[in-house]
Symmetry: C2
Subunit: 250 residues, 2 copies
């Protein structure tokens, strides 16, 4: 048999056969006088075995290990482990499909949204336009929602998770408006302290404890300050005060 016959016999390409020779998965057969490889039935059997293991999902390195160990012992271990891998993969896919379905449903109703239906609802509740703080808040929440759905566990998500729940915004709009008024104010403006206090009063206890905990996490301090620097001075000051007050309270 020549290489293309062997290949079609096993349902692979000639390149694949040569690749397996290269990796040592398949022994090089005799060569004819012209240099052509000459295969026998035995080679086809081995090739088929390699293919079968590979198609079960073993890497070619693992296939080599299995072939090398003439005992059946290693094979069993790998297959068991492989099955566990596949099970995990199945779960992951199911999860992705679920999120995908939710996204599709939301996309049908509101073609421009890019987050979960619940979060989309919250965001629609926010004042629109480029009013300074609302925009900041919108971005922050979008970020938190996005991150919490994908990365699963980051500090930002932990910190802001309470705020991504719709109830948090039930009476929040008016506070946002008052923050916006501080856009061009001085950090010493008397309204700063007032807004901070009202904001603190607005947050339920359980939210506060969760947020304090993740605020103290080392590593959170980094971007926390960086983000505050993006706000006008007076608004940033509000949050400095807010954190202080929450810590006293918590």
């Amino acid at each position: 048999m020549r290489i293309s016959e062997l290949a079609t016999l096993a349902g692979v390409s000639t390149r694949t056969v040569r690749h397996y020779h290269h990796l040592g998965l398949l022994p090089e057969p005799e060569r004819l006088a012209n240099g052509y490889r000459e295969y026998r039935l035995r080679d086809a059997v081995e090739l088929a075995r390699v293919r079968r293991l590979a198609e079960l999902g073993l890497s070619l390195d693992e296939v080599r290990d299995v072939l090398a160990d003439d005992q059946g012992r290693e094979l069993r271990e790998m297959l068991v482990e492989l099955d566990a891998d596949l099970a995990r993969e199945q779960a992951a896919i199911a999860d992705r499909r679920a999120r995908l379905a939710a996204l599709l449903a939301e996309a049908d109703l509101h073609p421009d949204s890019t987050v979960s239906p619940e979060m989309a609802e919250v965001l629609r509740g926010l004042p629109t336009g480029s009013s300074t703080f609302a925009e900041f808040d919108r971005e922050l929440l979008t970020l938190a929602a996005t991150v919490s759905e994908s990365a699963g566990r980051t500090e930002l998500a932990d910190l802001l998770r309470p705020l991504t729940e719709p109830e948090a915004y039930a009476r929040g709009h008016v506070l946002i408006a008052r923050l916006d008024e501080l856009a061009d104010a001085d950090p010493d403006d008397p309204r700063v302290a007032v807004v901070a206090r009202d904001l603190a009063a607005h947050l339920p206890d359980e939210m506060v404890s969760v947020m304090i905990a993740s605020l103290d996490d080392p590593g959170t301090g980094q971007w926390q300050e960086a983000l505050l620097r993006e706000l006008p001075a007076a608004q940033a000051e509000v949050f400095q005060l807010l954190v202080t007050q929450l810590k006293e309270r918590g």
Copy 2:
């Protein structure tokens, strides 16, 4: 924000962020005087968006397409298509796990077998040792069984599938023994024709028609001859005759 802050915020590595810059998925931010990249909240939002799409299973190229088209239209199409992909993958994994489970069950009973339980049974029924034809047959059947489980559809599998069913071997052993007797015989030996006729008589009609069909398939002729060349002349002659007789009959 500096790059590592952005990265931890989104739950990725700095390498990933730079990679996205390189691919144009994420705009390069301002540089500080020292050359460091300086990120803002907006960048984090974009990065999170990229990540989310990527984690849903879109390739980075596809992510770029989605981002490029500011309409939501393309997104929907890709998501629908992606869901179909995932569904196919799920099915494939389920299939692999099923085959894997069968293999494991068989391995527990007979640690040395490498094919399906049914086929393992057939092979155990074959005379063992290096008696010429039985060994050839064993290899051929192993090959057919292996190929038919992995590649799914090759000509060899089609041709030999009838033979991989256990009933085919119910009364076959004696014929194999008679073939073995021809190992050193002359192709003109009178027993050749007899064995060919008995072999033909042994095969049920429905098997014959299937086999004839795939024997006529162009492309099958290739390795068919190559395999016959591996047999002693008299045995090869038996099969030449056999094929002729089957064709007259079918």
